[in-house]
Amino acid sequence: MAPLLSMKNVTAFYGGSQALFGLSLRMRQGEVVALVGRNGAGKTTAIKAICRLLRHRSGEIRFEGKDLGPLASHRAARLGIGLAPEGRRCFATLTVEENLIAAARPGHWNIDSVLRLFPQLRDRRSKVARTLSGGEQQMLAIGRALMTNPRLLLLDEATEGLAPLVRRNIWEAVSELKSDGELSILLVDKSLRELAAIADRCVVLERGRDVWSGTFDELTPEMAVRHLGV
Amino acid sequence: NSLKVGMITTLSGGGASLGVDVRDGFLLAVKQSNNPNIEVVVEDDQRKPDVAVQLADKLIQSDKADVLTGIIWSNLALAVVPSVVNQGKFYLSPNAGPSALAGNLCHENYFNVAWQNDNLHEAAGAYANTAGLARPYLVAPNYPAGKDALNGFKRFFEGEVVQSHYTRLGQDDYAAELALIRATDADSIFFFLPGGMGIAFLKQFAQSGIDLPLLGPAFSFDQGILQAVGEAAIGVKNTSQWSKDLDNEANIGFVAAFQAEYGRLPSLYASQGYDTANLLISALANAEVSDADAFRAALKAAEFDSVRGDFSFAANHHPVQDIYVREVVKEGDILTNRIVALAMEDRSNAFVNDCSM
């Protein structure tokens, strides 16, 4: 079976400066993979390349065997890639509800199920996103990505700024999704402890390359110190 | 005996049609003269005073023009003419005739071959007397030429002016003004609204249901824009020193030649450009431009066949000419003008005495 997502030797640049130096990565259907690495290691860049917000220069990115290289980002998204981006990027002048429906596609996730996941958004349905608190915006960004009913969900620091309880709820929801085996998730997050509890596998990035990959059990403290500084 | 003419006129943008006509009339006359010694350099002033001033510098300094001409708009003329004549060059105006240049700023090297700005308005006032229009409502834009226009109208008018209404320059909606007119007891309307303003006014007047005789200077009823106004203009009286049906040999020849050359009927502006060129050609036949005094005298003599018939210069170098009343009529499919009356005979201008030349 073709992997859900495969990246081979991907390089990418911002203008003249290189950010990815030959990154490779494979994900199976239903898998939850954590992408970890120091600040500036290239995690976000990898995610941007997958959803075509940044064109890679060389290498290959395939989703379900289909080459993403020539696709515009809306085409890639329609293949089933959903993004909760770093820095939230909610549509500031739209209401919560409008944010959610703007790019919704039919499926398991709809307004009701998202609001069940984030009850706090329910009271704020008709508030414009700009006036939400940081955490509320973060919830909205995740909810918005879910509303596209993706098969691959990209969560880039999606729990940043969320209260511990909310974070727990999200992780619980993620494990539920995971147990359905329908949704695959590529995660970037800072708390290794929390990642370890839910991710199947972890890929360590350093200076734009994947330097290690394996389960969290295999990630020894020495390696964690060497690659992640902890 | 050669002559270099620099023509600064408006060839681009909204006001280009006037400049194009002046240029075409002028060049037609030059062509007809078969005089290889006349060279004309044409430049586009974009209707901007600063551009016009710099073009004048260019024509004088680089092209070494002896005579300048071509400017359409009074404000551009005021910007350009004084510096041109102060540099010892001649300027022949084919259109603009602001009062300052006829009065205190008059100059021996400046000749106006069209009219003093007030002339057509004065004629309208004079005609209103004879046509029995006793209570006209006057409309003009709020700028110097607009004020001159209404003052010109009142100069010979003997009745009672209901209102002198000034609108915004460039205004294109006249609903408010028309409502005001409807609410007065005016018996006629005199308006000076050049260009698109006049077209808009006439169309809206036709839609307003107001039924009063209209009177205005020729500018809003000239050949070029009459078609755009359409039937709304039929029957309107307008004053002009020229009309294509003026029955003299020069004019008949001009109208035919212009149509043959350009495939359209000539306009007032074309006739003025044509006359300007012919004046120049006649002067050149009698004097060399290098001899300024002789050339000036030759210009002053105005020994050319004007398409207007009799033509001579007053002391301040502005025309003395007849001014007619025309009526807009439909000839076949084409709207045009027909002379219906003589409004003023041998009209000079009101500023002769202000000129100390």
Binding site: A77 | A175, S208, G209, G230
Partner: protein, 307 residues
């Protein structure tokens, strides 16, 4: 000064306002909703008027002309979006200013090239000619009434489109973050082309209608453009309701100013200076109005803080 006259002037103000709204509607769509400074909007208005005049005189039917005006402007808009504007979304607003300034030159002089320097003939259709008498004895032009109706219809339609449809939501989302809405799977490119064409078509419609009672000539779009900008800034950028209210305010202020200022100054000045001071002030009035609104509400009447 009679009641009828005042009523008629109020109606005139309303009508001028609606006329401005027809123009401002397209602009607020492009400008407010898409976040694009389009100086060439006036040119699209001109294209609408010229196409209408051209087709109306060729076929003898005003209605065909109107259709032609709308479609020609929409088509021009779509072409402009695809060829030029599309490349400028990610750029500084200033690049858009320069590009659309260049487009004005191309369109204006191009139109003159094609149609000549003289104004064109365009007159309202026969059914809308003449006047009707409204209750209270107000005599009013049919065509102006028709403009009021058309403007109200456009206002309603746009309001629903932008405020109540998914299309509107997506367009506004695109204005906040084009990249993001694309990353969520929306083809924002084609949406923007459509919106731009729609805005352009509205400008064309305005040009065709207004051209029937004004002058169809090169450069006719520029003064209206400035007025339309004034309108949407007063109303608050991107708000259809704001554009509508702004239009009516500007229309009223302009008409009533022209009408009342001379009367007002006439109470203590001689008539001729009252007329000239009054009309000078009237011509500044809408700018005064805009400045006043912005000083007290920097985001316009219906705008959002920070938007």
């Amino acid at each position: 000064m009679s009641i009828v006259l005042i009523a008629e002037q109020i109606l005139n103000g309303l009508q001028l306002g609606v006329m401005l709204f027809l123009m401002a509607a397209g602009l607020t769509l492009i400008f407010g909703v898409m976040g694009l400074i389009n100086l060439a909007h006036g040119s699209l208005y001109m294209i609408g008027a010229f196409a209408c005049a051209g087709i109306a005189s060729a076929t003898g039917s005003f209605w065909l002309g109107l259709l032609a005006g709308l479609s020609a402007a929409a088509a021009a808009g779509a072409i402009v979006e695809l060829a030029v504007i599309r490349r400028l979304y990610n750029r500084d607003h200033l690049d858009q200013v320069l590009a659309t300034f260049a487009l004005i030159l191309v369109f204006s002089e191009g139109t003159r090239w094609v149609f000549g320097s003289f104004p064109l003939y365009l007159t309202p259709p026969e059914v809308l000619e003449g006047t009707v008498t409204l209750p209270g004895g107000i005599i009013y032009s049919r065509f102006r009434l028709a403009i009021i109706v058309a403007g109200l219809a456009v206002a309603g339609g746009l309001f629903l489109l932008i405020g109540k449809t998914l299309l509107g939501v997506r367009i506004r989302a695109g204005e906040c973050d084009r990249e993001m809405i694309a990353a969520l799977g929306v083809n924002i490119g084609i949406l923007y082309t459509l919106v731009f064409a729609l805005g352009a078509g509205l400008a064309g419609l305005a040009g065709a209608m207004v051209g029937s009672i004004q002058s169809v000539q090169v450069g006719m779009g520029e003064p209206v453009l400035i007025l339309a900008f004034v309108v949407i800034v007063i109303g608050g950028i991107g708000s259809v309701a704001g554009a509508f209210v702004g239009s009516i305010l500007v229309g009223m202020a302009d008409t009533l100013g022209r009408f009342l200022f001379p009367v007002f100054f006439g109470t203590f000045m001689d008539p001729s200076s009252a007329m000239s001071v009054g009309s000078a002030l009237a011509s500044m009035l809408i700018y005064l109005l805009m400045a006043a609104v912005l000083v007290f509400r920097p985001q316009g009447l219906f705008g959002h803080v920070g938007a």
